[in-house]
């Protein structure tokens, strides 16, 4: 029994079903690419986000994003080399961007069928609707280094391991706040 997967957030699924290689006499078995893998490639390589930003956009941890992205790249490579078609299918995702707001009755509604464009409010039939754009900037939870002796905190800087940070007050090496090591120092 593996650990349950966190639901990945994504904006919109691709509006086509997949890719097919040209000029093959017979089709190989298709490579099934999950929506979350498509989204990982879109965020990293198309929108040029850093992995940290992309992970936040998908609401997963940075290492998890890297795993999704790696598996996506492997599937693309496999399809390229073996000439297999790519089919987009499945994955544990939820779509965040397809909520609509109706200005006439003030209700929110979503679009279960991704193929169909919505023209009017499902409730009152008014055509004054707009698509919800999502939160502008997700709140970033900063990582914090903490001194195990005096408890002084400092914003963690990426790429510098916490144990290289020296506490200015007691010259002790710092550790990441919330790490399991912390429990030995709790007074």
């Amino acid at each position: 029994m593996s650990r349950p997967k966190r639901i990945r957030k994504m904006t919109n699924p691709p509006n086509f079903r997949g890719f097919r290689p040209m000029g093959l006499s017979r089709e190989n078995n298709p490579v099934v690419m999950n929506y979350e893998e498509y989204e990982a490639i879109r965020l990293s390589d198309f929108e040029l986000n850093s992995q940290k930003e992309a992970a936040q956009a998908m609401n997963v941890s940075r290492p998890t994003f890297t795993r999704i992205y790696e598996s996506a790249r492997r599937k693309v490579a496999q399809a390229f080399v073996l000439g297999s078609p790519i089919v987009f299918e499945g994955g544990k995702v939820y779509f965040d961007s397809d909520w609509y707001y109706c200005h006439t009755c003030g209700c929110w509604f979503d679009r279960p069928d991704k193929e169909k464009e919505l023209k009017c409010c499902i409730l009152c039939g008014s055509s004054e609707i707009e698509q919800y754009k999502g939160d502008s900037e997700p709140k970033v939870k900063e990582d914090v280094c903490i001194c195990p002796v005096c408890g002084k905190e400092k914003i963690h800087s990426d790429g510098v391991p916490c144990h290289q940070e020296i506490c200015p007050d007691c010259n002790c090496r710092m550790i990441r706040k919330g790490s399991p090591k912390n429990k030995f120092y709790q007074k």
Binding site: F95, G106, C107, F109, D110, P112, L123
Partner: protein, 108 residues
Amino acid sequence: MKVAITSTGNTIDSRLDSRFGRCSFFVIYNTDSKSVEFIPNPNKDNLEGAGPASVQLVASLGVKLVVSGEFGAKVKSVFDSLQIQLVMIPDENKTIVTIMEMLDHKNE
């Protein structure tokens, strides 16, 4: 088309319930035959998993549209995969009758 509306009571003058999973009653309204039925929600006092259990219930009734005040985190993706449309109404004072009238108005 069958529509499920979450209701606080079992009359059509009751107000909309702002919670989906733990609402008191589901009103199943058929927009074609104009029939209305009230179903008390068995999952009202569940400790957890009230949302998904309620999804099971409305899906088994063949509902295609669900109207409520708000939906929990676990529910949205399940509805998505079942191709059921959701409507959120932030206004808690709307009665079931007004919502039914709005739905009728749309079909005219």
